[in-house]
Symmetry: C2
Subunit: 325 residues, 2 copies
Amino acid sequence: MKPKIQDVARIAGVSTTTVSRVLNDRGYISQKTRDKVYSAMKEINYVPNDLARSLFNKRSYLIGVIVPSTNHPFFGELVADIENICNEKGYKVLLCNSLHQPDKEKEYWDMLRRNQVDGVIVVTYNRGLIDEKQQLPAVAIDHYLSENIHVVSSDNYKGGEMATKELIEAGCSKIIHINGDASLDTPANKRMYAYEQVMNEENRFYKTYHVPDVAFLDQSSDVIKKLFHDHPDVDGIFASDDLLAIHILQYAESQGYRIPDDLKVIGYDGSGLIRSIYPSLTTIIQPVYEIAWSSVNTLIEEVEGKKTETQEQVFPISLWRGTTI
Amino acid sequence: MKPKIQDVARIAGVSTTTVSRVLNDRGYISQKTRDKVYSAMKEINYVPNDLARSLFNKRSYLIGVIVPSTNHPFFGELVADIENICNEKGYKVLLCNSLHQPDKEKEYWDMLRRNQVDGVIVVTYNRGLIDEKQQLPAVAIDHYLSENIHVVSSDNYKGGEMATKELIEAGCSKIIHINGDASLDTPANKRMYAYEQVMNEENRFYKTYHVPDVAFLDQSSDVIKKLFHDHPDVDGIFASDDLLAIHILQYAESQGYRIPDDLKVIGYDGSGLIRSIYPSLTTIIQPVYEIAWSSVNTLIEEVEGKKTETQEQVFPISLWRGTTI
DNA sequence: CTGAAAGCGCTTACAG
DNA sequence: CTGAAAGCGCTTACAG
């Protein structure tokens, strides 16, 4: 049986109230009592039960984090940053990999509520996730969910614009965009709108191809093949995800395109991992750490009642110059 | 105020006992009562408090997972698999990124105990993590921690052997190994022993270089430069990590080595991500999913009291043939 | 088929 | 400076 506060009290010869007081360092306690209690705790290897504490305090210091999957460089890094920052602030992370499945997201959301998390940070493309009156503090990354939910993102429109203009300035004459599932309401859509708008303004041909699920690349190859089959003269591609961009480079090279002479490619995300192992890829960098930091801080401020108005924060993107443009 | 079971009981006109019964589907309850309770729950949007439940049941369905960082393709994938499998089985994951820091690992371990996790899955190189009498069920991945802790790993020795032999069979005459921190007691050490033993048996020159921290590659470049400076005639390198292998390839190519003609390189881990975006890299594949599955299952079996003897499970590795050998 | 009571391990007014 | 009592939101014997 795990020792409880009563056992400590009995051994130290004090009341449970007193033990609780030294545990929480609250109220006046004589040094002598304090010492007795500490040595009793040590003697029986006492560990406080945070479940009981949370129950009483109505505060769990638990934060739910819902992402598509940590098995993706961008989200793996994002989750690592979020967890590290939470840890510094005394919060714990309950991890949920939704695999982009709306029903899973909903299940996770309910699970988090049952577990009395203080708040949740969510990356979802499922608008309907929070329909009911949600009093649970939440921050949505990259996505507007509802009026009461804060939003943290990087500037997706500007990212799309920057990527497109890089290709234009590099002299590409036929620039194609490849993106994820068109029916999903993802931040990548803003990148697409930016691409289409820029191309439109310049009176250029534009075309966007869609991959069923960007995060899991198995299905991307057919779309990539089709892109090159339809447009063998393509000389610029803006991919909404670095992994997609790399797959395109692989396929293009296998077809004899020389990079960047025949074809220029720019990706998106610029996670530390990709920049480290694939520095040649020109890409738009999302400021992952800033997004993580701001998400955690905004959430904790709301949890601790410091701020109430719903916030929307957009961080600037930047360009990583590789050699694929 | 969040609605509680009492509110449901009051509205449905029954006792809390009855509400609890329909919640847990235990004992006999008339359909009429059941309906009343359900509609009351719906009416006030009731969500059960799992903290209170866990407190009573002495079972949290929480599993702590300690890894160096999800910001690494191998651990990002491992954590995603572990979490998915836990979720299928009704368990939740409390994520801890130790960043390879022993003091953090210890803090996380204590935090997990306070939070009454049912068990923990840990990837650590910190032998001293569990000194005291730990009654907490645990599975260590890749590492023997103590007599009562199960171990799940892949065959690191055979992996090192296979990698070394591949280079030998490919005709390399000067094969060098590069590994992580020598003072850490990591699974990669077994790969190094295998390398050294095979080389020894063949009466060949061997030499291992060490990078301070394989998981965070910033410091690797100096070591890599030194390796090539000391041994410009190296024609085979076995790296204990794919990211390291990729950095070596980058540096070697910048120095004019042709791959694989002048230099052959083999990595380690073979995570899905690396195989997808860097298929040319020859590497040893660790069966991530099997490791995740076995860890979760072994842990849950112990938690549920199905098995008691400490187990050690070793899964076979395999070879990914790229073009770097 | 249903309810009153005790208890999971803690904390906090309230007394003293 | 310290303790007895009530309560956080649940569940489960035990009665009826």
